[in-house]
């Protein structure tokens, strides 16, 4: 079940919230929590029962491991390190088996010209997120001891349906205390309004903006070999915007759904495309993932405490792991490498004491991010390189045939500019859709983001009207009907 589906919005979410607060009203506190846990497992089962089983196995194993670790830490036991290493290794193997087995076998086959059959494994949805969340808990227990939670609360923390599928990667210490607090037990109309407010914004971002941008991004990447200059740029920019509005829209929906249960989830995006350097970008983009990388990979590797060269190596290693976390393909690793390299260059640049002009800094950062997303989105190296070739103008730069009589443009044919259709390889759609990615640039630069709007939310006529329209548009756009006219007569 997707959070942007009618069944979730009209049935699952209201039903679960109603029963949850009714149980809180009439029964002991453990029952509504248990109910919410079961509802979350049901949510996962709607995708696939097997996904729910994998999730249950992971939670049970980690709870047992974490509890043993916590006891051992409190007693100053010698087994502490052993338990910790075994638990972390098991989590990595668990994730590795489901997510990276075929990638590994594929590479073995390629390197050794072997023909090992790939495994028939279905990747359990959300596995990367809940594995990282639990690794964070295990590490905290190992470092500081304590953090021993009630079994149901822990299970609910890991499986809570608003974020179990695609994050944010929340920490136990920011969620479990909320789940166990008295505030969480009472229906709060203020939180309901705030939840609906940000959920509607997220739904609109996903269905109206991201899914519209996807038309050009998907069409362009599918026809990557023939993209001309304009087509390639529109394709890459559409994907850059699509990814932001899709992921941040989903996060807004997760924040909104959790708020209805009086749970505050940390913000995951803070207008990342406003960034003036790559470091700032990673402080604004997928924030909960960045802080996980920092807290549980970069710092344990030594962070910046072991000299400059080691710091740079740590940065690079962190981002290579971050790249691989996003997907089992070399293109993701390369994407991580590019970002790691950019952070290394940025760190060295800072040391020179030089400063770039703000406009230039933004242009450089935005274009770097835009170009690196190509490797993130492309199905293969060839696809990525083809889009880049198109962006470099190797497949031709086309301008409207209406300009063919213009002397200025005729002169430019010498440098390879040609007259012809500039969108031949992109899907046929209304003109505004091609340029939506550009129209959105000033919007993402100047407008407040959804978290800023939520912070300042107070019920009034204006936002009530706006939210009702956004919600209605978002819901209508969930309809999968494809509308086009047969224009050719």
């Amino acid at each position: 079940m997707l959070s942007n589906s009618y069944s979730f919005i009209f049935i699952f979410l209201p039903l679960v919230a109603t029963v949850y607060f009714l149980l809180h009203r009439y029964f002991a506190v453990k029952w509504p929590r248990l109910f919410l846990l079961l509802a979350s497992l049901c949510f996962m089962s709607f995708w696939n029962v097997y996904f729910a089983l994998v999730l249950i196995c992971s939670v049970l194993f980690n709870y047992a491991g974490g509890s043993a670790l916590s006891i051992s830490t409190e007693r100053g036991g010698r087994n502490k390190k052993l338990i910790f290493i075994a638990a972390i290794a098991a989590n990595i193997l668990f994730l590795g088996f489901f997510k990276y087995s075929n990638f590994f076998l594929d590479n073995v086959n390629a390197v050794f010209a072997a023909q090992i059959r790939l495994l028939n494994i279905l990747l359990p949805i959300g596995i990367s997120f809940y594995t990282f969340m639990q690794i964070a808990w295990l590490t905290d227990v190992y470092r500081q001891g304590g953090y021993r939670y009630d079994f149901v609360s822990y299970c609910l923390y890991v499986t809570f349906f608003p974020y179990v599928i695609s994050g944010p990667i929340v920490y136990h210490k920011e969620i479990i205390p909320q789940l166990e607090s008295k505030q969480a037990q009472k229906f709060n109309i203020d939180n309901l309004c705030r939840g609906i407010f940000i959920f509607s914004i997220g739904l609109f971002k996903k269905t109206a903006i991201a899914d519209t941008l996807a038309i050009i991004a998907n069409g362009g990447f599918n026809a990557s070999s023939a993209l001309s200059f304009t087509e390639a740029w529109l394709t890459s920019l559409s994907f850059t915007m699509q990814l932001y509005f899709d992921f941040s829209g989903y996060t807004d929906m997760a924040i909104g759904a959790a708020l209805i249960f009086n749970i505050n989830i940390p913000a995951n995006f803070n207008s990342p495309y406003k960034s003036l350097d790559i470091r700032e970008f990673w402080h604004r983009w997928h924030i909960t993932f960045s802080r996980f990388l920092r807290d549980y990979i970069y710092i344990p590797l030594g962070g910046n405490r072991s000299g400059e060269i080691r710091t740079l190596i740590n940065l690079m290693l962190t981002f290579l792991i971050g790249g691989l976390w996003h997907g089992a393909a070399w293109t993701f690793v390369f994407w991580g490498f590019l970002h790691g390299s950019a952070l290394v260059v940025h760190r060295l640049w800072i040391k020179t004491g030089l400063h770039l002009n703000k406009v230039l800094a933004w242009l450089l950062t935005f274009n770097f991010v835009n170009i690196t997303w190509i490797f993130f989105r492309a199905k293969s190296w060839n696809d990525a390189l083809n889009v880049l070739k198109g962006m470099a103008g190797i497949n031709g730069i086309f301008v409207s045939p209406n300009l063919a009589d213009n002397h200025f443009w005729q002169e430019l044919t010498v440098v390879g500019i040609r007259f012809g259709e500039w969108r031949d390889n992109l899907p046929e759609t209304v003109t505004i859709v091609y340029f939506l990615c550009i129209v959105l640039i000033p919007f993402v630069l100047l407008a407040k983001n959804s978290n800023q709007l939520l912070e300042k939310f107070s019920p009034n006529w204006e936002n009530a009207m706006a939210i009702s329209v956004l919600m209605a548009c978002g819901l209508l756009l969930l309809n999968q009907a494809t509308v086009f006219l047969y224009f050719k007569f």
Partner: protein
């Protein structure tokens, strides 16, 4: 403002907005689905049906036949390319042209089955095949309002169809059409169909060609990038074709397949991929092949745009298959009856024609088209 009031306002305007959109979609009926299922003159009293934009013929045509089961006993199936074949000019049966936008063999089969189930007599069936018949999955049409199939044929419920049709945001062109209709009462009929299912929407272009005596479109720049057909999808289409053949044998239906005369430039990229498909088709049934690089397909004068051929070409097809229609001269190289016995020589000839075509275009720098090989 307190939160409870805010929630009430949100809910009120949410319902109001949704209702307005659904009512607008219902009123506009962009693809004529409501018109086809409920408003259509089911007694076939009119000679022409006109509609403001374009109609979903996948729903209109079967509904029309369901309402008039005794009027026709033979059917031409195909995509919009086939829609210019005039059924009135075929004298071997009471033909109706069932063509619909993007028509695929799986959809033709489903409609034939539905007709047989409803005991509609079928004497002859002509199936027009296109290059995309073997590369587009019918699943792609399931959410396309222009191509979604009749609920009686798919077995899907009317509410699910109407949900898809009405519970959606209108597109810009729909808003413009709606404004025209609401404010000015305009209902320009762009889609015109005669009582035998012939699309008359190309008549304006036909007049332009006759007046100017020149082609009315220019080929776009073209990249030679041969297309490979997906084996799984091709196998599925052949299963459907075999089922059609078995059905027609069982029900004593005369079944004729033909390949549409696809414009040479559009055909070039799929020519190689279609060769094994044509060989395979010939092994299970005879068919007429109007595609390739013949005197009709290489002359833009025979087309309204880069895909749709003229009524005149439709008449020529009838002439070649049935020996009737008013067209006197059928070019010798246009339309070959391909059988098991001649398929090899036919394919070899087509390969040769393709090579010549490529060379001709590569040499001729003065043509309106440039091809990158």
């Amino acid at each position: 403002m307190n939160c409870a009031k805010w929630l009430k306002i949100v809910l009120f305007f949410f319902i109001l907005f949704l209702s307005a959109v659904v009512s607008f979609n219902f009123y506009l009926d962009t693809y004529g689905i409501r018109f086809s299922l409920f408003t259509l003159d089911k007694n076939n009293k009119t000679n022409y049906i006109t509609y403001a934009t374009t109609i979903n013929s996948q729903i209109f045509n079967p509904e029309y036949i369901f309402c008039n089961p005794d009027h026709f006993d033979s059917f031409i199936f195909g995509s919009s390319f086939t829609s210019v074949i005039n059924p009135a000019k075929i004298n071997t049966g009471k033909f109706y042209n069932m063509s619909y936008s993007g028509g695929l063999p799986a959809e033709h089969l489903a409609i034939i089955k539905a007709f047989l189930q409803k005991r509609i007599r079928i004497k002859s069936v002509i199936i027009g095949l296109d290059e995309f018949s073997f590369r587009i999955s019918p699943k792609e049409h399931e959410n396309q309002l222009l191509r979604i199939m009749h609920p009686c044929i798919t077995g899907k419920s009317l509410p699910s169809l109407f949900y898809l049709y009405y519970f959606r945001t209108p597109q810009l062109f729909e808003l413009a059409n709606g404004m025209d209709r609401l404010l000015f009462g305009k209902q320009e009929g762009k889609f015109i169909l005669d009582k035998n299912g012939l699309w008359l929407s190309w008549l304006n272009r036909e007049k332009k060609i006759i007046t100017s005596g020149k082609p009315i479109f220019i080929n776009k720049d073209f990249t030679y990038n041969p297309f490979n057909y997906d084996k799984k999808l091709t196998d599925e289409v052949f299963t459907q074709i075999e089922e059609m053949i078995a059905l027609s044998k069982k029900n004593k239906i005369s079944l004729i397949f033909f390949f549409n005369p696809i414009n040479s430039q559009g055909y070039l990229n799929c020519a190689l991929g279609l060769i094994p498909i044509k060989e395979r088709l010939a092994s299970i049934t005879d068919f007429y092949d109007f595609s390739g690089f013949n005197s009709v397909t290489t002359n833009n004068l025979n087309y309204y745009e880069d895909g749709h051929y003229r009524y005149l070409v439709g008449d020529t097809i009838i002439r070649r298959i049935f020996g009737c229609s008013s067209v006197v001269n059928v070019p010798k190289d246009f339309g070959v009856l391909v059988t098991k016995n001649n398929v090899e020589s036919h394919i070899n000839k087509q390969k040769l024609e393709m090579e010549k075509y490529k060379v001709r275009f590569a040499k001729n720098k003065n043509t309106l088209t440039s091809i990158k090989f």
